[in-house]
């Protein structure tokens, strides 16, 4: 089975890949769908180096706009699902909920319970399906991170009795303040830092423990479990 990942940014793709490893999915069967590969240097001629560097880093975090464009144009979806290569295919779409209100998704006010998180997740999924014109239903998995992907990564560093990391108001700041983050700061590429910080997601036992600290992570991991069980 081949799994494509359309995500806000590269860093998110690396985190999701670590989760997929725990389901024994091989690296070579995971495709990072990268819209920038459809353009070339001539096309982006004229941009200053600083702008380019910013873009490179921006690609690590990305934005809803990237995902929205991918979904509405359907370009990566067509190329992924309709190309002639023989493989069963699933596409993962990743979005953080922190900026959803800018994209016409109403936030759940002051979310506290699992039901609130699931409601938030469902609203984002509904928007994604709307962008895609309800195409590819049944072939999609949704990695919807309540607030930010950082909240998912924080689950690996959670201590006992800690509440859902989706409740942390600024998960990115929280992650950046961890001792573990300081040890990866020497990596120039932010995606590399996230790949290392989320490395333990590839360990079945550690992932099982981690999902207890974040409902939206648990929902995603359970959806992967169901899909891999039914397709293998």
């Amino acid at each position: 089975m081949e799994i494509g990942i359309v995500a806000e940014g590269h860093a998110d793709q690396f985190v999701i890949r670590n989760i997929l490893y725990s389901f024994d999915i091989e690296k070579d069967n995971i495709r990072f769908l990268r819209p920038e590969l459809a353009s070339d240097e001539t096309e982006i001629n004229g941009k200053k180096q600083k702008e380019r560097d910013n873009e490179d880093n921006a690609r690590d975090f990305g934005s809803w706009t990237n995902v929205k464009n991918d979904c509405e144009s359907k370009f990566p979806f067509r190329h992924f699902f309709e190309n002639p290569l023989e493989e069963e295919r699933i596409m993962i779409i990743q979005l953080d909920t922190d900026t959803c209100s800018q994209y016409d998704v109403q936030e759940v006010f002051n979310p506290k319970t699992f039901a609130d998180f699931q409601e938030m997740r469902n609203r984002v999924i509904q928007k994604v399906d709307e962008w895609l014109g309800n195409d590819y239903i049944g072939k999609l998995l949704y990695a919807i991170c309540i607030r930010q992907m950082d909240a998912w990564v924080l689950t690996l560093y959670a201590t006992q009795n800690e509440k859902d990391t989706g409740l942390i108001a600024m998960p990115k700041n929280e992650l950046n303040s961890l001792k573990a983050y300081k040890s990866v700061k020497s990596y120039r590429q932010i995606r590399k830092r996230y790949e290392i910080l989320s490395g333990d997601f590839s360990n079945k036992k550690k992932l099982k423990k981690a999902i207890e600290y974040n409902q939206s992570l648990k929902d995603f991991v359970e959806s992967v479990a169901i899909t891999t069980a039914t397709t293998s």
Partner: protein, 423 residues
């Protein structure tokens, strides 16, 4: 043809099985282990009488390192001592090799390699020989002898320790027992193995060598870096030459080529006395009186193309070989067309090829609906082991493939894998 190979514990390949076709193209990011696959095949093909000589490996284009690096250097390595290669040529032609360094210093870079079975058989035989009178089990002794005698006979000529031991044992056995006949069903003594597999080499062309400016390896009829192309072509028969000339259209300016066997053109000032090559080309756009180029002066593209075509057409070149980085010096459109033609020539002349490339255009020359033509993506898995995946097409898309899904574009846009995810 070699139909399947399983490689264990060779360089970056911890364990991998590849089902091969006639023309096999391997793609993957730099350092993923493509060349290691070719080298594993070459390593097995170097086996002669139970031994692999260091010199043979080098001549075949295999990068030799100390044994601990020739074997996989991974932390969870179970079989640290040996390289295992299983080859299936057809249902009844299979060969399992377990290879260990043949040296007292087990990590000596100069070590030859030897079949583990040969070592254990000789040890067993020596032990039997010493204890035969005490044990008295002559039947078992003869059984072991039957398997080992042919190996001893092939191995008793050299000056190394093994050859001397083989020679001594043979003399001893001849004195005490009637020798059984050598079994004739052993694959690696067979003509098939010798004619098809043993000549396997990895070609990796170098322009200065194609131009005759540097010496190549000692492999005949052409060197692995492109040497001796002129000699090969000079010895083409009428049909081979005719077939080669049919491909002149591949290079726009090319009128024809000549091999100046007596090297007279050199004396007439067509080249300096630096190049050993006697191959010359004529340009169709230039004046007939003054249109000859030596290999030293011709463009490199024609030298590469001519080499590949000669390799396919000649009866003297190996039936099974590899080409590392076939795209070198070639225009993308030429890559695509050349690849299509090489597939046709491979069938016509019954050759089997392993090819690596970094040029997407090569993929557009492959018809993956043809079972004999195969494309493999080579990658490192999360633990760094080289793994190979065959790219197959959906059976129902045969008539639907449009330009938008060209394999070259699927590769460059990231839908095929075989690219780095780090940048």
């Amino acid at each position: 043809m070699l139909q399947e190979i399983t490689i264990k514990n060779f360089k970056s390949i911890a364990e991998d099985t590849i089902e091969l076709g006639r023309v096999n193209v391997f793609i993957g990011e730099n350092g993923c282990g493509k060349s290691n696959i070719l080298e594993a095949v070459g390593f097995a093909s170097a086996l002669e009488n139970g031994k692999i000589e260091l010199e043979t490996l080098v001549e075949k284009g295999i990068r030799v390192a100390k044994p601990s690096l020739m074997r996989g250097s991974f932390s969870k390595n179970k079989n640290k001592d040996k390289i295992e290669i299983s080859l299936s040529f057809s249902k009844d032609k299979k060969l399992d090799l377990h290879l260990i360094p043949n040296s007292e210093d087990k990590d000596d870079i100069y070590a030859n390699w030897i079949e583990e079975e040969l070592v254990t058989s000789i040890q067993k035989l020596t032990s039997f020989y010493q204890n035969i009178k005490a044990i008295g089990d002559e039947k078992e002794f003869l059984e072991v002898l039957k398997n080992v005698i042919p190996i001893l006979e092939k191995n008793n000529q050299g000056n190394d320790k093994l050859s001397k031991e083989s020679s001594e044992m043979l003399s001893a056995f001849k004195g005490i027992l009637p020798l059984p006949n050598a079994p004739d069903d052993s694959l690696y003594f067979s003509d098939y193995f010798q004619s098809f597999f043993s000549h396997f080499v990895i070609y990796s062309l170098s322009t200065p060598i194609l131009r005759g400016l540097l010496d190549d390896s000692n492999i005949d009829p052409v060197g692995i870096y492109g040497g001796n192309l002129d000699v090969l072509i000079a010895n083409f028969d009428k049909e081979e030459r005719k077939e080669l000339l049919e491909y002149n259209y591949l290079i726009d300016w090319l009128d024809s080529f000549v091999v100046d066997t007596n090297d007279i053109l050199k004396l007439k000032g067509y080249k300096l006395n630096r190049s050993q090559s006697t191959l010359y080309f004529t340009d169709k756009y230039m004046m007939k009186k003054n249109n000859i180029f030596s290999s030293e002066n011709a463009n490199e593209g024609i030298l590469h193309v001519l080499f590949y075509l000669a390799l396919m057409i000649s009866k003297r070149t190996p039936k099974f070989f590899a080409i590392d980085n076939i795209e070198s010096s070639l225009n993308p459109h030429l890559c695509r067309h050349l690849m299509t033609e090489l597939c046709k020539l491979a069938k016509k002349h019954d050759k089997q090829l392993l090819i690596t490339t970094h040029n997407p255009a090569i993929l557009d020359g492959l018809n993956l609906f043809d079972e004999e033509v195969r494309l493999f993506v080579v990658s490192r898995n999360k633990t760094g082991h080289t793994k190979t995946r065959r790219v197959k097409l959906k059976p129902d898309v045969q008539n639907k493939m449009g330009e938008k899904y060209k394999l070259s574009e699927l590769w460059t846009r990231g839908y095929l894998g075989a690219i780095s995810e780090n940048f």
